[in-house]
Amino acid sequence: MGNCRVKQSRRKFIKAAAAAGGLLATGIVNPFNAVIFATERPEDPTKPWWGYGIDIEKCIGCGRCANACKLENDVPKEPFYFRTWVEQYTIKNDGSVKVESPNGGINGFKQTVPEADIFKAFFVPKMCNHCHKSPCVQACPVGATYDSPDGVVLVDESYCIGCRYCVQACPYGCRYIHPEKNVVDKCTLCYHRISKGKTTACVEVCPTHARILGDLNDQEGELYSFMKNHNCLVLKPHLNTGSKLYYNALSAEVR
């Protein structure tokens, strides 16, 4: 009975209105998409598109990367904020996982689980993933954090209002509020170094070559061959962040 009361013409009008509304909505949203993801991977292969590789099999957990990062980038020693840090994962025989990172690994690690209980253990260095579709960039209300044209997520210190939205938005916990400057701070992939042809401080001091900085556009490059030769994964792929930090030998336990 209810159906009969709706006139044919009204039904047509609703259909047309829905279609028009849908078109209008996509028309409005699409340009915003272009603003949010303004930085695209350069099609010109001579232009860099920075990425990063970490070989968990090689990391010995010396924490020199975390130490060098603090010295290079003026990160306060205390309180314990880090742009990069190392975590020690211990997977016990009963399946439970213990994660430790005392002072980010700068003062070294101790194995606190008795040897008989350990199923496997490894170190995981963590840092900004320099996502292509960064949740943090999208969260910033003032445009103080952005993707540089070569794919590095940077912060505009003089423009940041310290609202902490990006700290919340980053699924990898890679941002902190600088206690002296009161603005957000994060790994810049040593942008001041890589743009001068040097490598990052963490890569510079890694004794086992577990860290690789590279240009994803450079098919002859070290990172490209690292990714080709290893079974590389990114952290939290289900979040579709477009992470450009590739791990070799990444266990499912790593969060």
Binding site: V35, I36, A38, T39, E57, K58, I60, G61, C62, G63, R64, A68, L71, E72, N73, Q88, T90, N107, G108, F109, K110, Q111, E115, I118, A121, F122, F123, G143, A144, T145, Y146, D147, S148, P149, L154, D156, E157, S158, Y159, T188, Y191, H192, R193, S195, K196, K198, T199, A201, E204, V205, P207, T208, H209
Partner: protein
Amino acid sequence: MPPQLKTLIPLFAIFIFLFLLGRYLLVPESFGEQGHYRFNSVAENKDLSLQYAGRDACAECHDDKALEMESDMHAGLSCEICHGPGMVHYDNPKAGQLIIPDQREHCGLCHATNLTRVDKIAQVDLADHNPDQKCIECHNPHLPWEIAE
């Protein structure tokens, strides 16, 4: 012209003018050049000063040490892993003395026994292996397998 418009048009014009003026004054230079951010910030990020000079920079003067290291297990390691950032020293060799870590704990950062790094690197039980001596009294850190008498 309807009389309402006579008052509304100037009012709207003032609003639009004020909006444009405010926008002109508040939007910083180079904002929106490449995206929703201040493009000058990219250059500002590039301009920060360097602390780590890199291994090649060290080898420009200390080529003897660099060559010495290449003959033993520590080949390929960067000097600044142990000696700390050296850019100040590189720019002015008289200033910016680098550190020479001699504590057992420093060697232990890589070499202390830890099941997590087993099979990856030579490991030493710091509590057991000559606990009263410094590592570098016997081991030359540049040539770790050349053991002093």
